[in-house]
Symmetry: none
Subunit: 246 residues, 2 copies
DNA sequence: CTGATTCGTGCAATATCGTGCAAAGAACCG
DNA sequence: CGGTTCTTTGCACGATATTGCACGAATCAG
């Protein structure tokens, strides 16, 4: 059976059942579980589904509540957020991308931190309501439902007129060859503009992002200033990229 | 069964029954009580429910309804929201101002309503996450902490380039002489632009807003198309303004 | 106060995961 | 056709996650 057929089958089945169970599928397709898991990993890297222990779920939050979804890697994300929150300094201008990991970071920000936050995510902006010393600049645009952030020419344009110190970027893949990548073309374009707008780019990555690649490149690894992740720095990390262990 | 599905099931069931009993659920799902207890512990750690002896209860309502409920006129606002939600029709372009009353309105919107919402409030935008058919246009700007909405030249400019059907405006005063008023000068300017951008302006007002005035005028009463409020229409309401009783 | 229920924790069994490695097959090139 | 390289696949193995059970502590109902 061809790989592409199998992956298509997995996506169809996912659309029908709204869940996938790796072991069952392996038996049904007559392959090893390893193969299924590899397929799921690939599809997850492309943003076509979300991996969970035992199988996978649809990428868009249709039937599994987003609240429950935030529980995926919850512990890891919280630790990443707490560590990365320490990297910010008073007076900085900080671009914060959307995503649950960055939401965890915002929750971990000190109430006495005095920075300017620029974001195109309504969720991030709303979460900063009780940080009285943080000035928030909201970037508008058409809301892209899949990730609940603003997108489009307006958004692009607004970021291109900003000079920030740090960009806290969300990615779905980090790979030695393809660099920082994500699953949506327009989102990739916008993220590229965000990276351009900041002096330094910082990525918070759970283990499932490292060494994988998604369809659309944001920027090469050389543009990555700091990587916040668990454990040891990957061997392929550029010398100029600082590794921050949680 | 996937862990995340079980947790989602628990949340759904909690939303339906307003309570969970661990032992019953264990029997129903065919797992041990320990597993259920562990799930409940995880969900409680995420703040999605509150543990009690024997099971769990809903957490203090989500940030949406929480904000909508923390006001003194909580019940009134909810009723206003439900009534006003009925005024919208498929295909319309709707400007929604910030504020807890409008948040209550968003919470009351039908999941099958197909409109385009334009808003400069991150809270409103975030609350529309689960309304899959509603297109959301987010207007950016500097966040004004007092009311958690975007303000400034950018915001102003964005609204001036929009033609909407309805503007759901928030005011702090409605008075026969001064018209629609609010407490901040720049906010008043922005709200005036919003009124200009819409064919019709609708105000949801609790009783404490009627007949009182705030320092800054948004627009004269003549621009008010509909007033949604409790009880009888005030005598000073212009003839051309339709009164919608809750 | 007492019995029953529920809770939390440690522990062991099972399931699942990620990675390295080798074999089989496909693609490519000369 | 022969050789080389790359991809895919399955397997082994150690690491991690999940689950059920046991047991003592805490809590509840009457």
């Amino acid at each position: 059976m061809l790989t592409l057929h199998r992956k298509t089958f997995l996506l169809d089945r996912l659309a029908r059942d709204r869940r996938l169970h790796a072991a069952d599928l392996a038996a049904e397709l007559g392959t090893s579980e390893d193969t299924i898991r590899r397929d799921l990993r690939d599809l997850a890297a492309q943003g076509l589904l979300v991996r969970v222990h035992g199988g996978a779920l649809p990428a868009s939050p249709t039937h599994v509540s987003l609240a429950a979804r935030q529980g995926i890697h919850a512990g890891d994300k919280e630790r990443l957020g707490r560590t990365a929150a320490q990297l910010l300094r008073d007076g900085q201008i900080v671009i914060i991308d959307g995503g649950t990991t960055n939401l965890a970071l915002v929750a971990a920000l000190s109430k006495s931190l005095r920075v300017t936050v620029v974001t195109h995510s309504p969720g991030i902006a709303a979460a900063l309501e009780h940080h009285a010393l943080i000035e928030v600049i909201l970037i508008g645009g058409r809301i892209f439902r899949h990730s609940m952030v603003a997108l489009g020419a307006e958004t692009q344009n607004a970021y291109s007129r900003i000079r920030a110190d740090i960009c806290l970027l969300g990615v779905t893949g980090l790979h030695p060859d393809t660099g920082m990548t994500t699953g949506d073309a327009e989102e990739a374009r916008l993220k590229a503009t965000m990276v351009e707008a900041a002096a330094e780019t910082v990525v918070l990555a759970t283990a499932d992002k490292l060494g994988v690649t998604s369809p659309w490149q944001i920027a090469p690894l050389a543009r990555l200033g700091r990587l916040v992740a668990k454990g040891e720095p990957p061997g392929w990390l550029p010398d100029r990229t600082e590794f921050v262990a949680v």
